[in-house]
Symmetry: C2
Subunit: 192 residues, 2 copies
């Protein structure tokens, strides 16, 4: 029991990991804990648009754990020209430490979920990726492109980073977003 | 698709609903969105201590939606001497409005989950309740009784509000907490 409690209290740190997107109803940047809740709901609500065989419970679990490594590494905006393989190696070290607070069987379960998300080989992971890429886009579309403008992110850069995963994981969502993104470009909501 | 997006963007408001408990690693009050993520993880991690027949996916879903009504009503500390039936009626009105942004079938699914949690008739709802009552206690135990002291909440009041639901929903969790609460009383971490 104490090991579970230690893990849950360690998770409190994710509430202090800030992302580049602001919440819509207050002038602060969202954190990765509340983001993880919102994308779980996004995936769940988009279930009618998921491939027929998708296990939505598995998707929800993937999304609830996918950002926990940021407790040690912080968040990197998805549009960054970063060394993503080095970042992911750091995140793996982080989740091994954090999940390792749990009893071994539970730690292995969460690590397998984290790796399933990162590998992206299952339809559940692909659907989860689509949701994860779409969520900050939806916030930007509701917020005049706040994080794109603040970080100098161009329309082309956004498309390059999100078209493949969203159109693969949830084609209907890409169909919806591509039209909205074209409108946003015309409105001048991108940087770069 | 647009109705799902409208719902998800409406959920952003839960990030601005503040609770009475502070996050452990910054001097701000937690919000109900990040709380909902953390208790989903708490329930999931405590699954080995749940009754054998418990469907943990159902518990996670109950916890992800249980606080959404607070978008309209705000959060009320669980130890308050409030008119709880009136508060719950307001929350019902709220979730009917918010879930009603979704297509009818999905709205009905979420409303049924919200009502299952409130009614507390299933082992999943009872386990979810135990987790919901335990989470602020765990934060207080890690934070010298911050919200108990700030709000003048006595040891007796805490026990009166949490012993029954936690000991019913997750006996092992109550066994763990009752000892910690007795230590906290000796340490002077309660108000009232």
């Amino acid at each position: 029991m104490q090991s579970v409690i230690d893990f849950i209290l360690e998770l409190d740190k994710l509430k202090t990991v800030t992302r580049k997107t602001k919440t819509l109803h207050s002038d602060r940047y969202e954190n990765s804990a509340e983001h993880s809740w919102q994308i779980a709901l996004l995936a769940w609500s988009l279930a009618p648009y998921a491939p027929a065989e998708t296990n939505i419970h598995q998707v929800i679990k993937l999304l609830l754990v996918h950002d926990i490594g940021e407790i040690d590494t912080g968040d990197t905006i998805v549009y960054a020209n970063a060394d993503w393989s080095a970042l992911k190696a750091e995140e793996l070290t982080a989740v091994q430490r954090i999940f390792g607070l749990l009893p071994a069987g539970q730690a292995a379960e969460l690590l397998a979920l984290w790796q399933e998300f990162e590998t992206g080989a299952t339809i559940e992971a692909q659907f989860a990726h689509a949701c994860d890429r779409a969520m900050p886009v939806l916030l930007n579309l509701a917020n005049n492109g706040q994080s794109w403008r603040e970080n100098g992110i161009s329309y082309a850069r956004v498309i390059a980073r999100i078209e493949a995963p969203i159109s693969q994981g949830c084609p209907a969502l890409w169909h919806y977003l591509s039209g909205k993104l074209a409108q946003a470009e015309q409105a001048g909501w991108f940087g770069g």
